[in-house]
């Protein structure tokens, strides 16, 4: 057992506190991360010292530590093993893997081993669904686990898997798997920084016009036109030093892993694309907010930012352009899906609990620190690079008139070759699944979850829908973050609906009543239906009322979509709740 009474040696923290001296609350999350790296958890005395340094009230530090799953206020081992049990991994026997690890270590979820060396947790989707079932051992990601390979996993000899490009990886994924993610030189050999040079030559107005014409809609799920977001932020009152580009790399929507592929395998592209956005908007401050469960992405991005800065691609007078000043800070989340919601993400950077703000006002005028901000998804920004380098005509030549260009899709579940697929808009869901080798073992498809946990279930007879924004809108089937999760005829959809409901109950921030309460009630009902006595005659109406209320009255997008999978499933298979 860890000795909880042992006094904490604060001298280890001193160098960190010195480094942050003079900083304010916005430095809270980075400082908590650094402190936790020292102690493995955040003892009260450490929190007090941090509060003093940053001048944050202790109650507020407590609230922040309590909010984020990856901050621990109780003794926790430095080595935390996190096993994903969300739908894609669950389909691949994550529960069996978890049970084998539990048996081997002699501890259960949330417990620390007797020698104090390892803590075990089951966690929501780790964004590696193509490698299901997966787990993080400290900072190392492992996939394709089986109960029989647990020993290799625990002693670190199981192979670490890398993201691969599939489909027609000619635009956004063009460099993935080909370029050395650790080398600026290699990035430049593969065409890197040509886009920025073109952008500088065009100037901001032409750049925004290009974004408009490219038809790129936000790839984070909300489908807002990129060009308009840049235009509004550019036009908002404020000097460049008071404007921000925030890259949303929180990617925590179950079933989504496309941004990880870019962050890990082409990090310089993310840095370059962010710089292009800064030029368009006229912003001097860049932030890339990466979820805490992507340690490999974080280290590669930080290295890329460092090399770019050394080479003069970040800093003052970039590419010799007088007044083109821009730099990027990589920020790391701490286990909260809600921090992918844009305003909750701002709160996290500001050192607060990730509570979404009421909109309006919108980020383009009142974003990070209340200043004009363009917040863009990773894929959204990287897509612009190929429009710049390959030209607008080439981009418009693929896809459809209303959905030009290409899009990344995350294929997972029962498909032969799960992975990130880049395809031009317009292919059907069925064609995409066939590209991924179809369902293994010749089994029939029972259901496909489109768009993510916040998305919609479709039946086999709906798979001829072309993957375009216009078709998605007219059929009310969200493309969301590009999730296509396939369930064959053997899958237990009641179990999946329980897992999706558990996800939202775990991730609701608790700010507004309908979501805070409804996500819990929805999970309880599916828990009973799936595991504990089956459905009652009243369940369906209760689920419909709870779902309606969350969808209609919740404060933010999380609650507004927390019942989407359940409601679309009940439309198609009412018998699931009977």
């Amino acid at each position: 057992m860890i000795d909880t009474t042992a006094s904490i040696d604060l001298s280890q923290l001193e160098p960190v506190l010195t480094k942050y001296n003079g900083r304010r609350r916005e430095a809270l999350l980075p400082l908590l991360h650094e402190a936790q790296a020292i102690y493995g958890w955040l003892p009260g005395a450490v929190q007090e010292a941090i509060g003093k340094t940053l001048r944050v009230p202790l109650a507020d530090i407590h609230g922040v530590v309590e909010f984020y799953s990856m901050f621990y206020s109780e003794p926790t081992a430095r080595r935390v093993i996190r096993v994903c049990e969300d739908p894609a991994c669950s389909l691949a026997n994550a529960q069996g893997v978890m049970a084998a690890i539990e048996a081997k270590l002699g501890i259960h979820h949330g417990e620390t081993s007797a020698d104090g060396l390892v803590t075990l947790e089951h966690v929501p989707c780790l964004g590696m669904c193509e490698l299901a079932p997966v787990a993080l051992d400290g900072e190392r990601p492992f996939g394709h686990l089986t109960p029989n390979t647990i020993d290799d996993f625990l002693n670190g000899t199981h192979p670490e898997a890398a993201a691969q490009p599939y489909g027609e990886p000619m635009w956004t994924l063009a460099r993935v798997g080909k370029v050395d993610p650790g080398s600026l030189d290699d990035y430049q050999t593969h065409g890197g920084y040509q886009a920025l040079a073109k952008a500088v030559a065009m100037g901001p107005d032409a750049l925004i016009e290009l974004a408009d014409k490219s038809g790129i809609l936000g790839r984070g799920g909300a489908m807002f036109p990129l060009g308009r977001k840049w235009f509004f932020t550019r036009g908002a009152a404020g000097k460049p030093s008071q404007k921000h580009i925030v890259v949303n790399a929180d990617e925590s929507e179950p079933g989504t892993f496309k941004d990880r592929c870019l962050l890990e395998e082409d990090p310089f592209a993310v840095v370059e694309a962010t710089t292009v956005a800064a030029l368009a908007v006229g912003a001097e401050n860049g932030w890339i907010f990466v979820r805490g469960e992507y340690p490999r992405a974080v280290s590669r991005l930080r290295e890329a930012v460092r090399q770019a800065r050394d080479a003069g691609y970040l800093g003052r007078n970039i590419l010799g352009q007088e007044g083109f000043n821009f730099d990027i800070e990589v920020r790391v989340g701490a286990g909260a899906y809600i921090c992918g919601e844009e305003t909750a993400l701002f709160e996290a950077i500001e050192g607060k609990r990730g509570f979404p703000r009421i909109k309006p006002p919108f980020p383009t005028t009142h974003g990070l620190f209340g200043q004009p901000t363009s917040i863009n998804n990773v894929e959204t920004l990287v897509a612009v690079l190929s429009v710049l380098t390959q030209g607008l005509e080439a981009w418009q030549a693929i896809g459809t008139a209303k959905s030009p260009g290409s899009k990344l899709f995350c294929l997972s579940g029962h498909v032969a070759k799960p992975g990130v697929y880049e395809i031009p808009f317009g292919k059907t869901i069925r064609e995409l699944i066939e590209m991924a080798g179809g369902v293994p073992g010749g089994k029939a498809i029972q259901a496909v979850l489109m768009g993510g946990a916040a998305g919609a279930f479709v039946k086999p007879d709906e798979l001829d829908m072309p993957l375009t924004y216009e078709d998605a809108r007219s059929r009310n089937i969200p493309l969301g973050s590009g999730v296509v999760m396939v369930f064959d005829e053997t899958a237990d959809l009641r179990q999946t609906l329980y897992e999706l409901s558990r996800f939202f109950a775990h991730e609701s921030c608790g700010k507004c009543f309908p979501c805070q309460l409804g996500s819990q009630r929805q999970m309880e009902i599916w828990d009973r239906i799936a595991h504990n006595g089956g459905a009652k005659a009243t369940d369906k109406q209760v689920l419909l009322d709870v779902g309606f209320t969350m969808t209609e009255t919740s404060l933010c997008g999380l609650g507004q979509t927390a019942a989407s999978a359940v409601l679309t499933a009940l439309q198609r298979w009412p018998e699931l709740a009977e």
Binding site: P57, S73, E507, F513, D545
Partner: protein
């Protein structure tokens, strides 16, 4: 001259200055929209959503935090609105004890909420904290309206003794490291107790009286506590 907007609420036209909330605009023409978390003197955070109304948008709008816009056509009591309110009340009632929240109980009655609907649901339980001479904290009655946290912080007192434990359904009002109030920055101004709309925060005197304790004894207990605290502060 300030700008105005004109809209319809339950079919009646009303013109209000730009920036007026739907809640206030409705009140001007005598239409009462129910509220739970809203308090006119505190920052409105749009938490309870009981004030949601239907303007035919993608989702309903929380009237206490949404500004009126020209041409809005708002229904404050449509079938959909009532469905949402009833369900919120049913879920709230199944989570915490509303016995000492008469205004919310009135809404439960008015919206015909089924109080047994989520009988099997988990309740948000909490110990009762009797850790200071001035007030008792019984979070079994707490609706998470944030008023206490807000008055303790930027809305009034700037004392910052209160924050939150957990998140989602498990969100509770909490203190640093779970300390008792006398070990926090609390100055016992009593503003949180005054702002609390339920029986979650209650003056100790009242709690002791309710328990049938003799007033002399109450005087002694609460006095002694105050003295002890000032001695601590002085020492």
């Amino acid at each position: 001259m300030s700008e105005t907007v004109t809209l319809k609420i339950d079919g009646r036209e009303v013109t209000v200055p730009k920036g007026t909330t739907i809640l206030d605009a409705a009140a001007q023409i005598g239409i009462e929209i129910p509220v739970i978390c809203y308090h006119p003197h505190l920052t409105a955070n749009g938490l309870c959503r009981i004030c949601s109304v239907d303007a035919g948008f993608r989702t309903q709008l929380a009237a206490c935090v949404t500004a009126c816009a020209d041409g809005m056509d708002i229904q404050t009591r449509s079938e959909d609105v009532v469905r949402g309110r009833r369900t919120i009340l049913e879920m709230l009632n199944s989570t915490i004890t509303l016995d000492e929240a008469p205004e919310i109980l009135e809404l439960v009655e008015e919206y015909d909420a089924d109080t047994g609907r989520f009988a099997e649901g988990k309740r948000r339980e909490s110990p009762v904290y009797d850790d200071n001479p001035f007030y008792i904290r019984d979070y079994n009655q707490c609706i998470n309206c944030w008023r206490c946290v807000q008055v303790c912080a930027d809305d009034a007192q700037f004392t910052y003794a209160l924050s939150f434990d957990g998140r989602g359904f498990e969100t509770r009002i909490g203190t640093f490291q779970g300390y008792g109030m006398t070990d926090t920055t609390c100055v016992f101004c009593g503003q949180c107790v005054g702002a609390c709309p339920t029986g979650a925060l209650k003056p100790k005197r009242q709690a002791l009286l309710e328990q049938g304790i003799d007033p002399d004894e109450i005087f002694y207990q609460t006095r002694r506590g105050r003295k002890k605290r000032s001695e601590e502060a002085g020492g």
